[in-house]
């Protein structure tokens, strides 16, 4: 004799989940499953976060090395790149656009990477360059762009490399871009690069004072520099320049 569907009858040999104690045990087991899965997911998520942070640090260090390869001969330059990076990121944050260009800091570091393509006799020439030598010198933004553009995460960085000698009024190179044709991070770079050059000792002149340097930035706002970038930089300069991370090198 066979019961018809078993759904309404309780099998005396195996009461199944209709038995309260068995029901409770099964519920308990499912709760344990859920907690175990949750814990595993949480721990995996934090492992991934750590791995990602490690990877990002490694990437930054690699890009720094790449930038320094180009300019390793000059201790000044190494510190200059790092200061440009720090100042540049500070201005990007002040303008509220840092998150829109996450790889901008790599562009600041690599801006002169293209100089590997410029002959040493031109790079190191003590006197003024001839017209022909200038033409060669002015290829370095595009050479740099070709180097960096091939790297997947460095799209914005490549734009900075290409446009770091453009000027707000269109008189720069290589493309003579004007105003917002110039990518914003490149406009930021121009200001911090000039500022750092002015406020550090160079072989041919001592560092300008902070006020003098800021005065120059304001004087050239609208021609060489984007006035909004200069405006954003002025309050920052007071706080970061004296501390200057790392310190400007006196000579």
């Amino acid at each position: 004799m066979r019961p018809d569907s078993g759904a309404d009858l309780i099998n005396p040999l195996d009461p199944g989940l209709s038995d309260p104690e068995r029901f409770e045990q099964q519920l308990h087991r499912l709760a344990q499953d859920a907690v175990a899965a949750y814990r595993k997911a949480k721990s995996r998520a934090s492992e991934l976060e750590v791995a990602l942070a490690t990877l990002e640090t490694a990437f930054l260090e690699t890009v720094r090395s790449l930038a320094f390869v180009v300019e390793a001969k000059d201790a000044y330059t190494g510190q200059h790149l790092e200061r440009c990076r720090v100042y540049g990121v500070a201005v990007m944050k002040e303008l509220g656009i840092h998150d829109d260009y996450p790889d901008a800091q790599y562009g600041f570091l690599l801006h002169d990477a293209g100089k590997v393509g410029v002959p040493e006799r031109i790079l190191g020439k003590p006197g003024p360059l001839t017209a022909a030598e200038w033409r060669v010198m002015r290829t370095h933004p595009l050479i740099g762009y070709q180097i960096v553009a091939g790297i997947p995460f460095l799209k914005n960085a490549a734009e900075i490399v290409r446009s770091h000698h453009e000027m707000f009024d269109g008189s720069g190179y290589p493309a003579g871009l004007r105003r917002d044709e110039i990518p914003v991070p490149a406009r930021v770079f121009s200001v911090v690069d000039a500022f750092d050059a002015m406020t550090t000792d160079r072989p041919y002149r001592a560092a300008l004072s902070l006020d003098h340097a800021l005065g120059e930035l304001q004087r050239m706002a609208g021609t060489q520099f984007d006035p909004d970038v200069v405006k954003a930089f002025l309050p920052l300069a007071e706080s970061i320049a004296p501390a200057g991370l790392p310190e400007p090198i006196p000579r």
Partner: protein, 122 residues
């Protein structure tokens, strides 16, 4: 006929709540589920729906689970025994009847899903 290409699981248990629970767990991992409440209909469904895996209770009225296990075509279907009886002799009988796995109730949903995935992959 199912078009899930090997992701059909047949759940056999006379306990309505167990079947519902196992169905919920399997469907959450995107398996297609068919059900039987006793051994005879299990064998009939196994040949018509061609499941990849059968989750099989042992203590059912009528044809018992070990016999059902024996009669299934093990070249076409894998068997997970799911029973309240935590008994090594029973486990032995089941394995000799061709069962691929032996799980006791209360069961872990994660362990069941891992087993089903593993058996389908082999």
């Amino acid at each position: 006929m199912s078009d899930s290409k090997g992701r059909v699981v047949l759940v056999v248990d006379d306990d309505d709540m167990i079947r519902r629970l196992v169905r919920t767990v399997l469907e959450a991992d995107e398996f297609e589920v068919t059900e039987a409440t006793d051994g005879e209909s299990a064998l009939a469904l196994a040949s018509t729906t061609e499941p990849a895996v059968v989750v099989l209770d042992i203590m059912m009225p009528g044809l018992d689970g070990v016999e059902v296990c024996r009669r299934l075509d093990h070249d076409r279907v894998k068997v997970i025994v799911l029973t309240a009886r935590d008994d090594p002799d029973l486990e032995n009988d089941c394995r000799e009847a061709g069962a691929n796995a032996f799980v006791t109730k209360p069961f872990s949903s994660i362990e069941l899903l891992d087993l089903v995935a593993e058996l389908i992959a082999t």
